[in-house]
């Protein structure tokens, strides 16, 4: 127990003493909030031009999280860097020499980074929601007390956290920052979107971590019927995260450092 405390302490020192932590997390917040507010502003001015169906399924809450498509990339970058820093610098050898119990080291690192991502994710979610609704104006905006809205806002924070943890798990497997960035960023920025836009692969895309997880942010039931509800989608995403962490652990345990 004492050892776990020490390792957590050390991981906290590591994470707070590099600039990439601040930069990536700040970018996640600023981009999500800024872009969200911009899009809300855009929607407000063009709302009257929307088709009746679009107006009927208009989701004010989800609109304020529109910036997340870009903001999540910064969160992924945080997840990648917090793990790959150890490998790209060679620090992992010193860390594992000090703590040969590899599971302990991994758990502590992931725990500290997850906690930090959770705090920033929640702040981001609330910081994106309120200004977004204010910009939308009283005619369109939802209230935090409306059914499902608080769940969506908290869920947005969870989504930001889980996407970072998923990136951590994948990076434990890939080790190299280049490889991790090269795979994760295009996937979440483009491939996932393309798969969900093409009708042939749409059903498949429902099961992707980001597509499933983002269900939690919708208050109005989307036009495309999904085989799970908001929390079901979150569970699908969580399953991806667990799988990624497990793969990362097995890799770390088996491979030479």
């Amino acid at each position: 127990m004492a050892r776990n405390g020490r390792v957590l302490h050390s991981e906290w020192t590591k994470i707070r003493s590099v600039r990439s932590t601040v930069w990536t997390l700040a970018a996640a917040l600023v981009v999500t909030v800024g872009l969200g507010v911009l899009i809300c502003l855009l929607v407000r001015t063009t709302y009257d031009d929307l088709s009746p169906t679009d107006r009927a399924t208009f989701d004010a809450t989800m609109t304020s999280f529109a910036g997340m498509t870009l903001g999540q990339l910064a969160m992924i970058a945080f997840g990648i860097l917090v793990i790959s820093n150890e490998y790209s610098t060679g620090m992992i050898r010193a860390s594992l020499a000090a703590v040969p119990q590899r599971g302990t080291l991994m758990a502590a690192k992931v725990a500290v980074a997850t906690l930090l991502a959770l705090v920033v994710g929640m702040i981001t979610a609330f910081a994106a929601y309120f200004p977004g609704q204010a910009v939308l104006g009283s005619r369109l905006a939802s209230g935090i007390g409306d059914p499902g809205v608080l769940r969506a806002v908290v869920g947005a924070g969870l989504y930001m956290t889980l996407i970072a943890v998923f990136a951590m798990g994948v990076t434990w497997v890939l080790r190299s920052p280049m490889l991790a960035f090269g795979i994760l960023i295009p996937f979440f920025f483009m491939i996932s979107g393309i798969l969900s836009a093409v009708s042939a692969t749409r059903k498949l895309s429902y099961w992707l971590p980001d597509q499933a997880g983002s269900m939690i942010m919708s208050v109005v039931t989307p036009s495309q019927e999904r085989p799970y509800g908001p929390w079901g989608g979150m569970a699908v995403m969580a399953a991806w995260v667990v799988a990624a962490l497990l793969a990362g652990y097995l890799t770390l345990r088996r491979r030479d450092a």
Binding site: R6, S10, S17, T89, G90, L96, A97
Partner: protein
């Protein structure tokens, strides 16, 4: 103490370290010498439990590394001085390592002082020179005040002053009764720093002996003496030995005479009425001896010969490759291991010997 028994590491069908058995004793600096790619770093990583051996085992202070209760309190290691996040300050780098093993922050400041980095402790380590980086790596190794210290190429890229500082530090640590295991690919450096040498080439043990013995056997100037009458060889040997020389009979029938100048050898032979066919000066630098030894490893493998590590200390002084388990002609040329520096003498020694 570090103890390796039959330590082996292969990657697929490529063997990086083959059946290494050695002991690193406390109280002295043990040099771990081998050319680049000989398997030094792999061996060090196995000692530290980072790489899993494919065969054999290695223990530190009696335990496999991963079973040590709090490794940094027992073993300190510098594996790669570049292994630090450039954006992190020197102090935070050490602090994160210290916290891993419950070492107080005051000790961080202490080791920073020992390595002379106090003034830049809060600077980002990315801006450090190579030498400062090495000092930071050494500071990390010293954090837990460990009884066993491993340094992988600690003088790489250091200026002469830095090299001297590292050398003095190693000696001081050993004098305090610690086990100090230092790898290097530079024979000259190890000759100055180490008390004991473990030499590997191509992943195999080539020599395990005190540095002094290694120097006596490998780096001396010597005279090669060939008597006209093979029957007079033993007589001359005892005369030369009586005059204070060390005499090693060589396979080709010549004598390797250490400790006497050529004129003295000549005088002794003349007075005893021994006719000489050859009296030639030879110099083997430590570096040459070391290169010859580690390059010889290639031939051992090709010949499927016995373990070079089985050869007794002293077997390396005969002018042949270490251990000389090969039949004549199977190994590298027996008489030209010194880089061909003396082309004039010993033209066809093997024919003459018959």
């Amino acid at each position: 103490m570090i103890e390796a028994v039959g330590l082996t590491k292969s990657y697929g069908d490529k063997t990086a370290v083959h059946d290494l058995t050695f002991r690193v004793q406390p109280g002295k600096v043990t040099g771990f010498l081998g050319p680049n790619g000989a398997g030094k770093s792999t061996t060090m990583r196995m000692i530290l439990g980072l790489d899993q051996p494919t065969g054999g085992s290695v223990t530190v202070a009696g335990h496999p590394y991963r079973k040590l209760p709090n490794p940094p309190r027992t073993v300190g290691a510098l594996l790669d001085a570049g292994a630090k996040h450039g954006g992190r300050s020197a102090r935070n780098h050490l602090l994160s390592l210290a916290q891993l093993s419950g070492i107080p922050a005051s000790r961080v400041d202490q080791v920073l002082d020992v390595v002379g980095l106090t003034s830049v402790a809060r600077k980002r380590s990315g801006g450090f020179s190579l030498g400062m980086g090495q000092r930071l790596g050494i500071a990390a190794a010293l954090l837990g005040d460990p009884r066993v210290l491993l340094f992988d190429e600690p003088v790489n890229g250091l200026d002469p002053e830095g090299i001297r500082w590292v050398r003095d530090l190693m000696k001081r640590l050993a004098a305090e009764g610690r086990t100090v295991f230092v790898s290097s690919h530079l024979m000259s450096e190890m000759a100055l720093t180490a008390d004991h040498l473990i030499v590997i080439g191509r992943g195999r043990l080539m020599a395990d002996m005190p540095v002094q013995d290694f120097i006596v056997q490998n780096s001396t100037s010597f005279a090669r003496v060939r008597t006209a009458d093979v029957g007079q060889r033993d007589g001359l040997t005892s005369l030369l030995t009586g005059a204070g020389a060390q005499v090693f009979p060589e396979e080709s029938g010549t004598l390797k005479v250490v400790g006497l100048e050529l004129p003295q050898v000549s005088d002794i032979a003349f007075e005893a009425g021994v006719r000489l066919w050859e009296l030639s000066p030879h110099h083997a630098s430590l570096e040459e001896a070391y290169m010859r030894m580690t390059q010889g490893a290639v031939d051992f493998r090709a010949g499927g010969a016995q373990q070079p590590g089985d050869a007794p200390p002293g077997a390396y002084g005969t002018g042949g490759p270490p251990g000389s388990p090969l039949p004549p002609g199977a190994g590298p040329p027996q008489q030209q291991p010194y880089g061909g520096a003396q082309p004039q003498s010993f033209a066809q020694p093997q024919e003459n010997a018959r």
